[in-house]
């Protein structure tokens, strides 16, 4: 195996081994997405029953939004919490004096983010299909692109959170859970961008998720792929990932100057 890939695998193995030894951690990954799906599933059934036809479409859009937003949330948390695991176990010192490059650390955290997202979201998707008759894959292959765009957005936000943890220490760790929830109102998850006030719409359109959810609604309600929104989502992902990577590297080097890597968990 290529040495760089092996180093990335080394860090992924560390987390996989941890999950293999701890079933409560695996359950915790699935718990919230499944709970969300149960609650929103009943709400959607209620809405669909109120006005058959348009209500059914709205209910489908709601369930799709819940599932896809979980992808962004789990992606961001998967990255940031995997980094925090290293801090909590006071192992970062060993990791940072190994030949693991910062970009390989990021690649490992992204890999863990994908694994944690799949383990967390797939049971919720199965639940939506089995109990509420909502199959996200009925949207077609474009769903994979939606998934990828939201994963990337989660990574960008998580890299910024990790940069804040490098800057401010474990005191910033609460952001690992909460920061993406703060973007929900502007990400057009449950309603179109057009619903937002005019002055807020440019803010929403700078967020990749807003384009993904506009695209999802176009696929669900109109039955067509909104390529423009999809392209915009990936272009914005690229831009935000580049900005987040630059901020992360700046904070990483700053932490090396301040000596913060020696006592980041304190």
């Amino acid at each position: 195996m290529n040495p760089a890939l092996r180093r990335i695998w080394g860090l992924v193995y560390r987390h996989v081994a941890l999950y293999r030894r701890s079933w409560p951690r695996v359950v915790e990954l699935m718990y919230w997405p499944v709970l969300q799906m149960v609650v929103w599933g009943f709400i959607s059934s209620y809405i669909a029953g109120l006005t058959p036809g348009s209500g059914t479409l709205a209910a489908g859009a709601l369930l799709g939004a819940v599932l896809l937003w979980e992808v962004a949330l789990r992606s961001q948390m998967g990255f940031a919490l995997s980094f925090l695991e290293e801090i909590w176990s006071r192992n970062l010192g060993h990791v940072f004096v190994s030949p693991l490059r910062p970009r390989e650390l990021v690649a490992a955290l992204m890999s863990m983010s994908v694994l944690r997202t799949l383990v967390g979201v797939l049971p919720a998707m199965v639940l939506a299909w089995a109990f509420y008759g909502f199959g996200l894959f009925s949207l077609g292959p474009v769903i994979v692109a939606f998934f990828a765009a939201l994963l990337m957005m989660g990574w960008a936000v998580a890299m910024l959170v990790t940069a804040l943890i490098l800057r401010h220490g474990a005191g910033a760790e609460a952001l690992a859970w909460s920061v993406l929830f703060g973007l929900t109102p502007f990400s057009a998850v449950f309603y179109p961008v057009a619903v937002l006030p005019a002055w807020l719409q440019p803010v929403a359109l700078a967020i990749p998720a807003a384009h993904v959810f506009e695209g999802m609604r176009a696929a669900l309600l109109d039955g067509h792929v909104a390529w423009g929104h999809l392209a915009a989502a990936f272009a914005l992902d690229g831009m935000w990932l580049a900005i987040a990577a630059a901020v992360f590297m700046r904070q990483f080097e700053g932490a090396r100057v301040r000596g913060a890597l020696l006592n980041i968990g304190e």
Binding site: Y13, R14, S89, R90, H94
Partner: protein, 253 residues
């Protein structure tokens, strides 16, 4: 050949807001650690040992000076050096929930160790860890954790090993076992070792040369025997106290 060439190494931490400018933590350190030798880094709390080791490992960016580790400039090419170095400290843990074998596998991957399972088995035999391989690292005693930390530090057959208080919090018997093991390992492997310790008997036993640090500077250096004779003392602990308290410096001046 030198394992480490340190020239005029300096570190002043960035000032904190509304605080007076900090004094240098390391102030013009220069030394050459030859391959195959074990050197000690001695000094009281705040003397600059941890800062020095952190800079040697690339965890901390120096304010000035240079470090050449195993022929690699740590400012430009630290990862090439880190692949052939390793480090052990009782103050940095290994993931507690993972087994000893899993912990060692992680580092075997990170250091791209060939024949991983064979290497782990060899280290487990050498360090009496075979019975512990499947046990969670967090369940081990302090002495067992120290042996696991040593196994992690040796997983890549390092040419340069940095040890921070390798026998801290160990009982005398286990401490003696670790020191004996390090003596044998150093002699057999030709590995250069830089050891920071507060245990003077340990330094006298293991180190051929000692750097005495105070306020970030090398105040004196030499073999334990030479230092002891130079200060007219019976052992290194008394020399350490002279230097730490500045008593000998005054009388020598």
């Amino acid at each position: 050949m030198s394992a480490l060439i340190v020239e005029n190494l300096r570190k002043t931490y960035p000032p904190r807001r509304n605080a007076p400018p900090p004094r240098p933590a390391v102030d013009g350190l220069s030394f050459r650690l030859p391959m195959g030798e074990t050197w000690g880094l001695l000094g009281g709390n705040g003397a600059g040992k941890t800062t020095t080791i952190a800079m040697l490992l690339g965890l901390l960016v120096p304010s000035g000076g240079s470090i050449l580790a195993l022929g690699h400039d740590m400012a430009k090419d630290r990862f090439a050096a880190l692949a052939r170095m390793n480090f052990s400290s009782p103050y940095i843990a290994l993931p507690h929930r993972l087994s000893v074998a899993e912990n060692l596998r992680i580092y075997a991957h990170l250091y791209d160790v060939p024949d991983m399972e064979q290497r782990i088995a060899t280290l487990a035999t050498d360090l009496n860890l075979t019975e512990l391989l499947d046990r969670p690292a967090g369940d081990l005693s302090a002495g067992q954790k120290t042996r696991v930390a040593l196994a992690k530090a040796l997983i890549n057959r390092p040419a340069l090993l940095l040890l921070d208080e390798p026998t801290a919090s160990l009982d005398p018997d286990t401490g003696d076992w670790v020191r004996g093991w390090l003596e044998r390992y150093s002699a057999e492997s030709g590995c250069a070792i830089l050891l920071a310790s507060h245990n003077m008997a340990e330094v006298e036993r293991l180190c051929g040369h000692v750097l005495m640090l105070k306020e970030g500077r090398i105040l004196d250096q030499g073999s334990p025997a030479v230092l002891t004779a130079r200060y007219g003392r019976e052992d290194l602990e008394q020399v350490f106290l002279d230097i730490a308290r500045g008593t000998r410096a005054e009388t020598m001046a």
